[in-house]
């Protein structure tokens, strides 16, 4: 079996996944779309892209292996590349740095042929040793780099991590441009190796001692300057391996999470694209001009109210289901979230390959909720405490659902805490209920591991324990037949839907605002702010030209 780059051939499995995702998304009207024809016209080189890192006022690290923050990954798109990439056009992972990959019959060994025209910004060609070194760096003994869990399934990874081996036996160089990765069990490497946390880096640059302030990668732009807490910039890398790209001569990211200021800057034409808040979305959608540049994206994040199944009353599935029936999510999404969300119909989001387009969401049915509570022996009502942050998607939603719950006899008391405190309380099993947004893609099996009874509380936060569910996941993981696998994933998702360890609320609708002169902005369902900057181009009306 041979995989080729996305532009050439998609594997049967990926094609199937992409088709399923598209069908699923279309079924609920959640497929990413651009109001304006983004790709209209011939790409035009030149200009400076004015982008935004919109989730904080600083980057955590310029070392892509060291950070799993969304905005760091958005910036990394300019400077780094990974073995795979997310293709927004097909909603699937595709080869990025290799021309082909051959998969062994047991589905455990993947042999890659690297492209022969990839260079790092320091001028050196990217070779197999760089891939092996980059992955080995992440897995080095004593390492605390974010991507450890992505690579832990590689054969010999754990021994290397534990200092029991000198090398990762599952990483083997065949020649300068060929290498193989062998996993302990079947895995889809695309899902594991497409994010910036597994970027391929040049060893000499990382070990130079200046890498944290002067990053070197093989991405479309070379690093120019980082003013911490304000801006990071780069200029076009002439030896970038994709012919003719990037289109822009330079790129600048303003680092800010102040959406009011971003709104002014966008309207003033100082930035080319930005994500919008709920309020911003309403205003832009109503504006005849600004609305033309909106790109709506059903992101792979599932917002929910988690429930601690080790605590009463959540140990009873009927109570959990009752909560799901008791609340009118449509009105919360419409009135509170200004329609900047898609109603959740399960754990896996609409763009996921495991999403079941035929599933019907929990209906708003207070009578059924009351009946379930009565069946559970809670005719006198029940109360619980929900831990929330002060965000609209947390406290705001809880406040909105409170009267619905009260109507069926459930009293909920909010406990407002800071985000880090909330996580600590959940991980310690101290919070009875909580509001969170979980990444639920692109790998559906990985997303469903959030309910795997063998996972620690920091992953299986609800404390869901069901060996039948674990078995479905394991079977899905072991099967090589893509259709069968999707079927099992859907079965697992349906299982979680029925067991309702969470109150399924919504999938985030991310909205990008783009200027009329900007073209080629992709709708990335894994994170809208992570834009494929090498394909973005500016027409003659761009102020930065």
């Amino acid at each position: 079996m041979t995989h080729s780059p996305a532009s050439l051939v998609l594997s049967r499995r990926r094609m199937l996944a992409a088709m399923l995702a598209s069908t699923a998304a279309a079924a609920v009207g959640a497929i990413p779309f651009a109001a304006r024809a983004q790709e209209a016209g011939t790409p035009r080189p030149g200009g400076t892209l004015q982008m935004v890192a919109p989730f904080g006022s600083a980057l955590q690290s310029l070392d892509p292996h060291a950070t799993y923050e969304s905005q760091d990954m958005a910036v990394s798109k300019a400077f780094h590349r990974s073995l795979y990439n997310w293709d927004s056009a097909t909603n699937s992972v595709v080869l990025e740095l290799a021309s082909e990959v051959k998969v062994s019959d047991d589905g455990k060994t993947f042999t890659y042929k690297l492209l022969d025209n990839i260079y790092f910004h320091n001028g050196r060609q990217l070779v197999a040793d760089d891939v092996i070194w980059s992955y080995s760096r992440i897995l080095a003994p004593g390492s605390s780099l974010s991507a450890i869990s992505n690579l832990q399934n590689i054969k010999g990874a754990q021994d290397y991590l534990d200092g029991k081996a000198d090398t990762v036996t599952g990483l083997a160089k065949i020649d300068d441009l060929t290498f193989s990765i062998t996993f302990d069990s079947f895995a889809d490497p695309g899902f594991l190796l497409f994010e910036a946390v597994t970027a391929i880096l040049p060893r000499e640059a990382v070990e130079s001692g200046t890498f944290l302030s002067n990053p070197v990668g093989c991405g479309p732009f070379t690093f120019v300057e980082h003013i911490e807490g304000s801006r990071i910039s780069g200029k076009k890398f002439d030896k970038y391996f994709k012919a003719g790209k990037p289109y822009a001569d330079a790129i600048e990211f303003t680092i800010t999470d102040d959406y009011s200021a971003l709104d002014v800057a966008f309207r003033a034409g100082e930035i080319d694209a930005t994500v919008l808040s709920e309020n911003g979305y309403v205003l832009y959608a109503q504006d005849p001009e600004l609305s033309k540049g909106l790109i709506e994206i059903a992101e792979m994040f599932t917002r929910h109210m988690g429930m601690n199944l080790d605590m009463k009353p959540f140990d009873d599935v009927r109570v959990r289901q009752a909560i799901n029936y008791a609340v009118d999510r449509d009105i919360i999404i419409e009135k509170l979230l200004k329609n900047k969300a898609f109603k959740a119909v399960g754990w896996l989001p609409t763009p996921s390959s495991g999403f079941d387009p035929d599933r019907k969401p929990y209906a708003f049915d207070p009578e059924k909720a009351k009946a379930l509570l009565a069946e559970a022996g809670l005719t006198d009502g029940v109360s619980f405490e929900a831990w929330v942050t002060d965000a609209t998607s947390s406290l705001g939603v809880l406040q909105a659902m409170t009267p619905f719950l009260a109507a069926v006899g459930i009293t909920v008391t909010p406990k407002v805490v800071e985000a880090g405190v909330l996580v600590e309380a959940i991980n310690k099993g101290e919070a009875p209920a909580w509001f969170r947004s979980n990444g639920t893609g692109p790998d559906p099996i990985s997303a469903l591991r959030s309910f795997d009874s063998r996972r620690p509380r920091s992953t299986n936060r609800a404390g869901f324990k069901d060996t039948a569910f674990d078995a479905i996941l394991d079977e899905a993981m072991a099967t090589l037949d893509p259709a069968k696998r999707v079927e099992l994933v859907r079965k697992a998702d349906a299982y979680i839907f029925d067991q309702a360890p969470v109150w399924f609320h919504n999938y985030n609708k991310a909205v990008l605002a783009t200027q009329p002169w900007v073209h080629g902005v992709d709708a990335n369902v894994t994170e809208a702010a992570i834009i494929e900057v090498d394909q973005v181009w500016l027409d003659e009306n761009a102020p930065s030209r």
Binding site: G229, S230, A268
Partner: protein, 310 residues
């Protein structure tokens, strides 16, 4: 003068010691850790990675051991390494201190240049339209949230007039400094106008002013030689306090204008429970405040030779 400096130095060292101890202990005992903050984002970092991070940073060591390690480093001028960025805190602060200092200087300059004359002339023309307008401006300046004032300035000068950039640091030039400096300077300007007015009015009612006037001293000489100098002693305290608090008090403005200052670093670091970075930022803010206060104390000696410190 030397005694004053030595005493101030001792007080500063004591203050710093108390502050760093308090901050370290508080951040170590309140709920939430650096590791848990990494899971606060919608992306999850695995439990094993979190454990490794805690082990690597020594976060599982007892509090006294961690504090001892930090203080030993601090005694040698080492502010430690940021949990989040893995970079020396001193390196992270170096660029930001200059940015914050520039912003604070520009803001206080704006406040002094506008607030002082306004307050002075308002007092000199007490009850006139100028007085009323100045006091209205002062009350407004103190009442308007800096965040809102900044947005209005952005709206007018960036969006409508296109005179100035909305936000950012640019290449360190004046263009990007103007809006955040004015925003940060509005409240101190208003306070200065009020304080100056009150100080001038108080001085105008002094016996020595009446005496000078009765002796036939010209108004110009009276103002320059007696009134301004005496009123300025009172105003100096306000300037010092406002300037001193600007480094730490500009958080909102720094975040609004994507200004790479110490305040925004502090806020981000607090959210991440990045104790070395929090300590470093607070240390800088405290030292700046102490330095400005010491300079103000010394300035008193120059402005009014009657003042003596014991």
């Amino acid at each position: 003068m030397l005694n004053v400096l030595l005493r101030r130095l001792f007080q500063a060292a004591l203050t710093v010691l108390v502050v760093v101890t308090l901050v370290f202990v508080l951040f170590s005992v309140i709920p939430g850790t650096y590791a848990s903050s990494l899971q606060a984002d919608k992306r999850d970092v695995s439990a094993e990675v979190l454990e490794r991070i805690e082990a690597e940073l020594g976060l599982n060591d007892p509090l006294p051991q961690r504090f001892g390690r930090y203080m030993a480093g601090l005694a040698q001028g080492d502010l430690g390494v940021s949990y989040a960025t893995k970079r020396p805190v001193a390196d992270m602060l170096s660029g930001r201190v200059w940015a914050s200092f520039r912003l604070a200087c520009a803001a206080i300059l704006f406040a002094v240049c506008i607030g002082l004359p306004l307050g002075f002339f308002a007092a000199m023309r007490r009850g006139s339209w100028l007085d009323t307008a100045t006091m209205t401006l002062a009350v407004s300046g103190l009442s308007i949230p800096a965040f809102w004032a900044g947005l209005v300035l952005m709206y007018v000068f960036s969006l409508k007039l296109h005179w100035l950039p909305t936000f950012g640091y640019g290449s360190g030039g004046l263009k990007h400094l103007i809006l955040p400096a004015i925003t940060l300077g509005i409240a101190p300007m208003a306070l200065l106008a009020r304080t100056t007015r009150a100080a001038v009015l108080e001085t105008l009612n002094s016996d020595f002013i009446r005496t000078a006037r009765s002796k036939g001293m010209s108004e110009r000489r009276l103002v320059l030689r007696h009134l301004a100098r005496n009123a300025f002693v009172l105003v100096l305290t306000t300037i010092g306090l406002q300037f001193g608090s600007m480094l730490g008090g500009s958080v909102v403005i720094e975040k609004l204008f994507a200004w790479p200052g110490v305040g925004s670093l502090l806020i981000d670091s607090v959210g991440l429970r990045d104790i070395p970075a929090v300590q470093g930022a607070i240390l800088v803010i405290v030292l700046f405040f102490l330095l400005i206060n010491t300079l103000v104390d010394l300035a008193y000696l120059v402005v009014d030779p009657r003042i003596r410190y014991r």
